[in-house]
């Protein structure tokens, strides 16, 4: 009844091709942005912003990058943690070695370094497919794990191998408090989400989707596989690299290579699959699910009033997490984004049954 397109006529191509053609969608997004930018910083506690919303935003950015590679282009990659690490360490080196380097510039340059590495490790995808490629990308993961521990230059010759950044600011505004960090991440994520959405709606996005669906047929109609696959790796690694720089600089403050280990790669892949392959919105849903669920499970015994040992709580969390993953895959293999779009379809007809 409320979610109808009746009366909304478009009179220009531009209007017809906008990301949210339905006015109700535009209002909803505007409200969401208002809540995110205004209500949350004013109303929500520091703990929530620091420990829940900021990691959620950064990981959803990384999941967005991975979704472009896995969901839109169909190349399974298990080495995302590696690209995050490259982005973080490269940004660190630019930040520390060049005096007066602006934060945004070092993060973007970190992303570019991740792009180079991503393209390098994406070259095997031209020959190797499917599960073999997935396991081959683990080579990237383990190689960067080793490189950032062993090659002293990357960590600015710190004796322990751990690096830290402090005193971040953008154009003179400090990024220290929980609110400032949250707003900074939010701005970066919104900008990148918009760019990514437009990218996947464009010609190159269609090339990626053609490669995913049937790469031989795509090559037959003139889509160059090298170009499509490598650009997918490049764009995806850039976004993941920037997310890695955000994770290290903004969320952790001081990190070691173990922060970007294979667990992180699996976590991001979970987010993408649960959220929905091939959907920008899905990355956010997946990230919310994966970030909030363990915290929720952790706090649940306390809320329900009985106390159990932390080891048992941790194991139960793992068990329930695994069981919910399987449950979600059975119930909706296309992810939460598909659930969302089904809900929207039903909403169009509501309150009528058909």
């Amino acid at each position: 009844m409320f979610y109808r397109e009746n009366g909304q006529f478009k009179s220009s191509y531009r209007a017809d091709q906008q990301i949210f053609p339905i006015a109700q969608d535009r209002i909803a997004i505007a409200l969401l942005l208002l809540v995110a930018f205004v209500v949350v910083p004013l109303g929500v506690s520091d703990y929530w912003m620091r420990a829940i919303l900021t990691p959620f935003l950064i990981l959803s950015l990384a999941a967005l990058g991975l979704n472009i590679l896995v969901g839109y282009c169909g190349q399974i990659s298990l080495g995302t943690g590696a690209f995050m690490a490259v982005g973080a360490y490269a940004a660190y080196n630019f930040h520390v070695r060049i005096d007066g380097m602006p934060l945004i510039a070092s993060m973007l340059l970190g992303g570019l370094c991740a792009t180079l590495i991503g393209v390098l490790f994406g070259i095997p995808s031209l020959r190797i497919k499917g599960l073999y490629l997935a396991v081959a990308t683990l080579a990237a993961q383990f190689f960067t794990d080793w490189a950032f521990l062993r090659i002293q230059w990357f960590t600015n010759n710190s004796s322990s191998g751990s690096v830290s950044v402090a005193g971040l600011n953008v154009l003179g505004m400090p990024i220290e408090s929980a609110v400032q960090k949250y707003i900074f991440c939010l701005v970066v994520v919104v900008v990148f989400a918009l760019l990514a959405k437009n990218l996947v709606r464009s010609a190159i996005g269609r090339e990626w989707m053609a490669m995913r669906d049937m790469d031989v047929a795509a090559a037959v109609i003139g889509i160059r596989p090298v170009y499509a696959k490598l650009t997918a790796f490049a764009v995806s690694s850039f976004i993941v690299g920037v997310a890695g720089a955000l994770w290290g600089f903004i969320h952790l403050g001081a990190w070691e290579p173990a922060a970007f280990s294979i667990d992180r790669s699996f976590q991001l892949l979970f987010m993408v699959i649960i959220g929905g392959l091939g959907s920008i919105m899905g990355s956010f849903f997946g990230a919310a699910f994966i970030v909030l669920l363990p915290l929720f499970l952790n706090q649940l015994p306390a809320w329900l009033g009985f106390s159990i040992s932390t080891a048992l709580a941790s194991h139960l969390e793992t068990m329930i997490f695994g069981a919910l993953i399987v449950f979600f895959l059975i119930v909706e293999p296309h992810g939460l984004a598909r659930l969302w779009s089904t809900a929207k379809e039903k909403l169009r007809l509501w309150p009528f049954p058909h």
Binding site: Y47, L149, S159, S160, A166, E256, A259, L304, A311
Partner: protein
């Protein structure tokens, strides 16, 4: 359908009750200090982390049983980190807002690094007992870090001096080979600068053999030890790496008498599994061990005998 809505209402009621009672509980704890304990009872470091966490809890319970510190009781809550930095940061953020937070003990070097940047602005002391940032011994720079009982530099130094004493003088170390089998992480890499400096001072050859975390498969490290035939091996591991190292030493025939572990490589879980083959292995110890020390006796008497012990005796 009906069952579902009943269940839903019950959950809502339970959570609201919990939320209602929580603030009043906080007010009742005015005369208490809160020690958040970041522990890891799961993951590859659990064999060492679990007894350590149990011991910490038992000791705090002992202090409470003896009347607290000047009459102030200690409350504590454990938060599971699994030795992961981001979980440690999340635990820190969640627990730092509690009333009466006295200090933080991260129990892990990686988490220490991350929290070192945060404690100055939150003004909470960060206690690191025998681990953490070795450079934080400089209190002028790291004002909120309190490394107790020595750092990794102290540990490495003590080991070298002990070896020197065994040989009959530090100058007798000249020309000897000492291998460091270390956990490839900031924890394992901390002693390297000091050992390199000592190698320069006394003329012994230092070889560095890293073991990729978590140290589950160490055959190549110990084949290298066999190839180099060092006079001594310093073991700088944690968790499952320690027992695996001892087992590989057995398998490659390196005499355990020549192995010296840092205090994190010298606990009972590390050798229990290896059994009789670990005989002769040496390690540093920060504390008295065995059931005869007074502290252990007190804990057994005042905590475990009253049924309040954490974990097995």
């Amino acid at each position: 359908m009906k069952l579902k809505s009943i269940a839903l209402t019950a959950a809502l009621v339970a959570s609201t009750l919990g939320a209602v009672f929580a603030p009043s509980l906080a007010q009742a704890q005015a005369k208490e200090q809160f020690f958040p304990l970041l522990v890891y009872r799961t993951g590859p470091y659990a064999p060492n982390g679990t007894p350590w966490a149990n011991g910490k809890q038992d000791y705090l319970k002992l202090i409470n049983a003896q009347g607290g510190i000047n009459g102030v009781k200690i409350t504590f809550e454990e938060c599971e980190t699994g030795y992961a930095t981001d979980k440690g940061v999340e635990c820190y953020e969640r627990l730092k807002g509690r009333p009466g937070v006295a200090l933080f003990d991260p129990q892990a070097t990686g988490i220490t690094f991350a929290l070192t940047d945060k404690v100055p602005s939150d003004k909470i002391p960060l206690i690191t007992l025998g681990y953490g940032l070795a450079a934080s011994q400089d209190g002028g720079v790291f004002k909120w870090n309190f490394p107790l009982m020595g750092s990794y530099w102290t540990a490495a130094d003590i080991l070298i001096q002990h070896l020197g004493k065994k040989e009959g003088g530090l100058d007798k170390l000249k020309g000897k080979k000492i291998a460091l089998v270390y956990h490839d992480s900031p924890f394992g890499k901390e002693p390297i600068p000091l050992l390199q400096e000592r190698a320069r001072m006394h003329g012994f050859e230092l070889s560095l053999i890293p073991v990729t975390a978590p140290g589950v498969e160490q055959k190549s490290a110990w084949l290298q030890v066999r190839q180099q035939r060092p006079d001594f091996v310093l073991l700088w591991g944690w968790g499952v790496m320690n027992s695996t190292a001892l087992k590989e030493a057995v398998a490659t025939g390196y005499p355990r008498e020549k192995m010296y572990g840092v205090w994190w490589a010298g606990a009972e879980p590390d050798v229990k599994d290896v059994g009789a083959n670990a005989k002769g292995y040496n390690a540093l110890a920060l504390n008295g061990s065995g059931p005869d020390t007074k502290v252990i006796q007190d804990i057994l008497k005042q905590v475990h005998d009253k049924g309040q012990g954490t974990g097995p005796k």
